[in-house]
Symmetry: C2
Subunit: 307 residues, 2 copies
């Protein structure tokens, strides 16, 4: 909002806003984890992420991406100093047009960042139907991890689960997707260990065994924004990025970036420096100016580049 | 039920039951229609067909096919005298286990029949998100058919809708899928012509222009059942099939096969030959024996082959 308000105050007209954020793990955490991901947010929401249809605005046209295409339709996002990430569209970018004061822009897209290779492996689970949360599976008490996966594949007596999966989705048995799925324990003969569940609940339970933050693990938050605007007849661009690493598995970057702004706002309220009352969102300078300033003192700062 | 009851009465044990039915068009109707399909049933239900997850039992294991895989996972079903059809699984085969008295079977699968090539072309619309009925699209008053399709594809200024579609789904521009989609008018610059709608409602509206039964069109119902059972230590198989062609676009095979059994049952009730009362389904011999006999006189008869 700070950048949007500044562009407008200087007489610029915003043409395009794209914003991607990811909650990942720090580059030096869990080196063997090929997903470069662990649960640092509500695990259930991670499993259900993207269900429904993503809606956004691109070059003045409304665009839609259904769940079954979401993890295929990724953008490459380069964050200076941290390399390349995969970005997929969030559910509804359109509802933020008004919130951000961006009515009339040509492009409005909000999305989620993941490390390279995450999306195509996750897409296998989406395509299989493992993220479905709408029905309880039958007889899961007796099932193993590999039988869980097998139940989404047809019966072919002479082929192993891994072979059927590779054949169904055109995967190489030693490729990047299978490496990630195998590492997640999805093909082991361990009992699932719960009595009842939807596919999504069972998948969450299995993944939790590997995707839980362990002692010493550090998470990592990365944000990337791009603003394109016109000023004095010229097209200009500002990029703004943020990267925060967690201190440990308790004091996570997720906890800091979610909790500190709220804590700071509470202090500002107590000090009488916030006069707005009721349920308000911090999109006005009354909030973002002192909060962003205080966050800077805590090592959380957006870095801007004007192109 | 007649076959199931007979096998049981003769001391047989049913191992497997598969049943597929399709409401199609007669081979000599609408020769230029590459789908070999028109709406002969509630059009809205045709568009939404298969949403959710198909559940069935195969070789003693519960199997699941999510919507995004349904039209990929087809069986070839040969109906004697009518050639080969494509069969996809219906939503929930399991709930018929009890209705049909088939508890304890190894395989239970109910499905839908379509003519060859239908499923892979329909799958393009499913994958695009055109069958989604969960949200209203934005600004459709101004959209053409081809802009409707384009809104599910990303923006690439230098490529036509057809090119983006082929690239996204690995289709050949003169292949069978594109032939069907093109014939359906999905790439024309005609206005959609409705003011508001979900993707599913818009798709139904566009397809209705081509998939409406015209004067003289005849529809076609085909059913195929396979029963595998054990008797005296031997494995045996019965196939039963039914094919009915409509008289014209009003007196359809769909109307006959749905309406005549009900009419016959009403007559049997009036004649005092049905003594059951309340809401009952016709799975007992009190119903199916006289109804099947009367249908035979009207040219509707299952043909059985014992293997």
């Amino acid at each position: 909002m700070q950048v949007i308000d500044r562009i407008k105050a200087q007489g610029g007209k915003i043409i395009s806003f794209e914003s991607f954020t990811g909650g990942l793990i720090a580059p030096d955490t869990d080196p063997g984890n090929p997903w470069r991901y662990k649960f640092t947010w509500n695990p259930r929401n991670v499993i259900l992420a993207g269900q429904g249809t993503a809606k956004y605005l691109q070059q003045r046209k409304y665009r839609y991406i259904p769940y079954q295409q979401l993890f295929n339709r990724i953008s490459k996002i380069t964050v200076e100093g941290y390399g390349e990430f995969e970005g997929y569209a969030n559910r509804d970018s359109l509802k933020y047009l008004e919130t951000y004061g961006l009515e009339g822009v040509s492009t409005m897209l909000r999305g989620t960042l993941r490390n390279k290779g995450f999306c195509s492996a996750w897409n296998v689970l989406v395509q299989l139907g493992c993220c479905d949360d709408t029905y309880l599976m039958e007889g899961i008490e007796a099932l193993t991890h590999r039988e869980f996966i097998d139940s989404f594949l047809g019966a072919h007596a002479n082929f192993a689960v891994e072979e059927k999966l590779c054949a169904s989705f055109g995967l190489s048995s030693d490729g990047e997707e299978m490496k990630r799925l195998r590492w997640s324990g999805l093909f082991t003969s361990d009992r699932i260990g719960i009595h009842q569940g939807t596919p999504a609940q069972i998948l969450e339970h299995i993944l939790s065994k590997k995707w839980k933050l362990n002692a010493g693990d550090k998470d990592f938050i990365v944000m990337w924004h791009r603003f394109v605007y016109e000023k004095d007849g010229q097209s200009k661009e500002i990029k703004a990025q943020l990267a925060v690493t967690g201190t440990d598995e308790i004091n996570t970057a997720m906890a800091k970036t979610v909790g500190l702004p709220l804590g700071i706002a509470a202090r500002l309220l107590l000090e009488g420096r916030i006069t707005s009352r009721g349920v308000v969102i911090p999109v006005t300078s009354e909030f973002y100016e002192p909060i962003l300033q205080a966050l800077q003192g805590l090592g959380i700062q957006l870095k801007e580049v004007e192109v």
